[in-house]
Amino acid sequence: MIGLYSWRKLLSFALISVLVFAALFWIFDTLKDSFLKVVRDNQRQLVTVLAESAPRDKELAEDWITAVNKEFNEADIIYVHGVPGWDELQVFTPNEQLRTFYESNYSSEDFEKALESVYYLENYYSSLEYSFEGKSVSLVLAPLIDETRYDMTGFLVFLMSAEAGENYTNLLNIFMIGAFAIFAIIYFISKFFRDPIMGYVIMGLFLMVGIFVAYPLFEAVRLTFLEDGKFSMQTWITILSSKQYLNALWGSVKLGILTASFSTIIGFIFAFVINRTATRGKKFLSTMGLLPVISPPFSLSLSLILLFGSNGLITKQILGLKDFTIYGLGGLTAVQTIGMFPIAFLTLSGVLQAIDSTLEEASLDLNGSRWRTFSKVTFPLAIPGVLSSWLLVFTNSLADFANPLLLAGSYKVLSVEAYIEVTGRNRLGHGAALSILLLMPTLTAFLVQRFWVSRKSYVTVTGKPSSRLSDLVSKPVKFGLITFIVLFIVFILGLYGTIVAGCFVANWGIDYSFTLKNITEALQRGRDAIVDTFTLSAVATPFAGLIAMMAALVIVRKKFAGKKVLEGLILAPFAIPGTLIGISYVLAFNKPPLILVGTGAIIVINYIIRELPVGVEGGVATLRQIDPAIEEAAQDLGADSTTVFRTIVLPLIRPAFISGMSYTFVRSMTAVSAIIFLISAQWYHMTVLIYNFSESIRFGLASVLSTVLIIIVFGAFGLMRLLVPKNEYMEKNVTLN
């Protein structure tokens, strides 16, 4: 026990904590008492009114009780006819269990007192607690006074439910303990931390991930093990024995494998041509190759439908095909490959850049043929990168929700199936279980990529890049590859062009006449959604940016217990499919103590939590390159932690900060998978509206909104490029959702 933790300080901490706890307890106890008093008064009034209004004619008793119970269910009522001690008592109740309850308690001491009180025409409120049908109830007896006001025809027995009061007191208890915990932690930090501000930041981060990551996920997992409020494996048994759900799982995995394979091949061709051949216009090719990364959800699917759908321009108008369908595995693989190959491209580009081309030159020098050099030197060196990119795309494909929603047709994938369970069939438990099922392959792939593949990397960064290119391919092969790339890019541009064209066409597939009606209608009907989406994203952006940078600072520079846990929980939403996050938010924040569903806040929080990982990783990567002595020097000169953060850290990690923010903004604007569960009439989302328009075959309107979204996204990225010219880190992490 030295210094920071002297006995005296600990003692005073304990003393003050006890005092505060006592004060809080007193306050909340008073609150509870006054609430219970109100409840009791209400009950008494109710009892009096009911006793007045009850029919004196015993023949009407049961009908009356049934009628009353329709209005109030906080009380079970027994009607007894006759004066106790004088008449034979007749018991009336529609519920046989109530009669049993009455008869088994009739001769008790409490009842005797009650009957006596009733006999003197006074209400009796029992101080004992009874239990009926497993719930605790309070007993009230009220006489039925006749017209003379001196005599009685019988009495009523009420079993008042204590549940409302209990719920309320439980809630108060939670608040009291919460308030005390927050006080104790803050007080502890201010008293025992050398740097309280950092302590508060760390505590804030823990609270944030605890409430908005761990708690909802816990709720989702918990729900899958509940049936009627009790532990049960029923949900999982149903899910795992149902062919339909297993089909969906297999469907997701199959799609993931196909997409990952195609994306990796195409990504490799792009990366190879750009990093290993002398070609003009590389910059243009690589920009075009990255274009799909930032295309909003639904847009590629939409244009695929416009071109190849049942009323598609190419399939119907040009080729006149009848049996072709874009819906299903084929179309999904196509659209996901186009959308996700840039991930592979970026990953493999990095890998190829890092492979020292002197190795290839050495092979060529030793008279190895080009093919031999490629297959024995270049490719083996790139294998960890290839695996890594395959797994990354696989993860993304599985988590993808927007494309399957529009394009799956009768093909089943898990993310959409979970959505249908929740919104269509109102089976939250099944939805949660399905999205947890989806997490398994995703998480496995993610962890394998993170901790296994990335460690097996053969690539060493020497710090002296050789700018020379070894000529690894012959002219015809090179020509073939470049032709492929150009055609692919033309196709992508064609897809975008289709969306823009869709804005100006009266009725795609039927009537191709030029019109501006779509634009006016879409902007009119979508105005609120556009404003909502923009506002919420704009609100989330600065928070996400700042929190990400603070979290990065804490992770890189501070040592504290539980750091790994904190880091894990902050980064977790990166690997968790949006569907699971959406469902778990609905579960966790639709009940006390935190009712957020329906508010804009939950959407903003969701944006922040989901986009934090990329910002944090960017911040961490940047901070790791900054000499800690710089921050120490500032602190040494008298700056406290906030000042160091504001004047030194933030300016130094500005690139990560800005790209983290623009990333959050763009991803928030284009979010679908989690948001679709959280929107409300008050707070709508553009992407969901695009989906609705597409579902109701208003492709023109959908095209207009997609175009607006594309413009906003490109605008945000353009702005970022202006502020931070070079930003590889972020691009590497942009993925679809």
């Binding site: 030295i2 210094g3 920071l4 050398r194 740097d195 000499d627 002595a629 710089i630 921050e631 120490e632 020097a633 500032a634 602190q635 040494d636 000169l637 008298g638 700056a639 406290d640 000042t643 004047t647 030194i648 300016p651 130094l652």
Partner: protein
């Protein structure tokens, strides 16, 4: 920039670094105690990993001691964060703010203290003048040479008028010539301001030339504290003797201890005036012989027979490397013009100048 100087006291300070991955804890500093007088320049000297930087960082507030206390004057500063203690550190890597120019770097501490901008400007310019960088105020740190960056770091620390200046291997990133210049510069500024200074280095020449006192550390333990000449001439162990200068150790056996120490060296008895007190007769020991405490005499007239391997002429002195049964021994001959010089290949004998040598226990290298 005058301020009353302040003393520093380290009391039973221990620092243990907990190693996370199940490895053993590292004791970086083991029960260190020392006092630094106001205005004194003290060097923490030792090989890398000896705990000298950790000690400095604890004084600066960047590490917390596991045990013990640190005082600035009479104030216990052990647990104060760096921004609350009146110390200023010049970091080995300088830690200049890359997004600010020289002026703003130096002004940073003053701006935090909310001084009027006129006053800030005057002070910054006069401090830059002190370190000779007046003309470079608008430069970015990345556009400065190593020596200039070093001066900016120094100016940035000095301007806040700390009670104690902490320098962490400030010259290690400079080339030899610049190092010598900066050494003189630092000493001049320190004496001008009279600021209590703690200087960390592994370079004995730096330590010798700068310090009022030197604290020699090894493996987290303080081995000796004393003025440069005490440490050099009267080291308390083989380690200190070897670390602060060139030395030859001749194995001997202690015969008698009294006013002087009589030892047996290869059947010869030698009487040496200085010796470590903890030895007793019969112990094996060494004679610490610095190059200047030896002289060359004709064969068989001295203690150790040998042959001159190389002579290096340095102007004011001559260094003779003599091959003997005890390895190669360096003998320094001052004013060689006035003395007899043995040519390379000649047989010689090495004699000890008894009042310059010292007998040390033969343990711990």
């Amino acid at each position: 920039m005058s301020k009353t100087s302040v003393s520093v006291r380290i009391e039973n300070v221990t620092k243990v670094f907990k190693d996370v991955k199940g490895k053993a804890d590292v004791i970086a500093v083991n029960n260190a105690n020392f006092d630094i007088e106001p205005g004194e320049l003290v060097t923490l000297l030792g090989p890398s990993g000896c705990g000298k930087t950790t000690t400095l960082r604890m004084i600066g507030g960047f590490e917390l001691p596991t045990k013990g206390k640190i005082f600035l004057g009479n104030e216990d500063i052990t647990f104060l964060p760096p921004n609350k203690r009146d110390t200023a550190t010049v970091f080995q890597s300088y830690g200049l703010f890359p997004h600010m120019n020289v002026f703003d770097n130096v002004a940073y501490g003053l701006k935090l203290r909310k001084l009027p901008s006129k006053q800030i400007k005057d002070k910054v310019m006069s401090t830059l003048d002190l370190v000779g960088l007046k003309d470079l105020a608008q430069r970015a740190p990345s556009k400065l040479s190593g020596g200039q960056q070093q001066r900016v770091a120094l100016a940035r620390s000095l301007i806040v008028e700390p009670s104690v200046l902490l320098l962490d291997e400030p010259l290690s990133n400079l080339d030899a010539l610049l190092r010598e210049q900066m050494r003189v510069e630092i000493k001049r500024i320190q004496k001008t301001l009279g600021i209590t200074t703690i200087y960390v280095t592994h370079d004995r020449v730096e330590a010798m030339s700068l310090s009022d006192r030197i604290i020699v550390m090894k493996n987290g333990i303080i081995r000796q504290i004393g003025s440069p000449n005490l440490i050099y001439e009267d080291p308390n162990s083989k380690f200190v003797a070897g670390f602060v200068g060139k030395v030859a150790f001749l194995p001997v056996e202690v015969l008698e201890i009294g006013e002087t120490c009589k030892v047996k060296f290869e059947e010869k008895t030698v009487e040496v005036r200085k010796f470590s007190p903890e030895m007793s007769p019969g112990d094996s020991a060494v004679i610490m012989a610095r190059p200047e405490s030896l002289k060359l005499v004709d064969p068989s007239k001295g203690m150790i027979e040998g042959e001159v391997a190389t002579n290096i002429y340095l102007g004011g002195s001559l260094e003779s490397f003599v091959t003997t049964d005890h390895g190669e021994i360096l003998v320094q001959i001052d004013n060689p013009a006035e003395k007899k010089v043995f040519a390379e290949g000649e047989k010689v004998s090495i004699a000890i100048i008894p009042h310059l040598a010292k007998v040390l226990p033969d343990k711990d290298e």
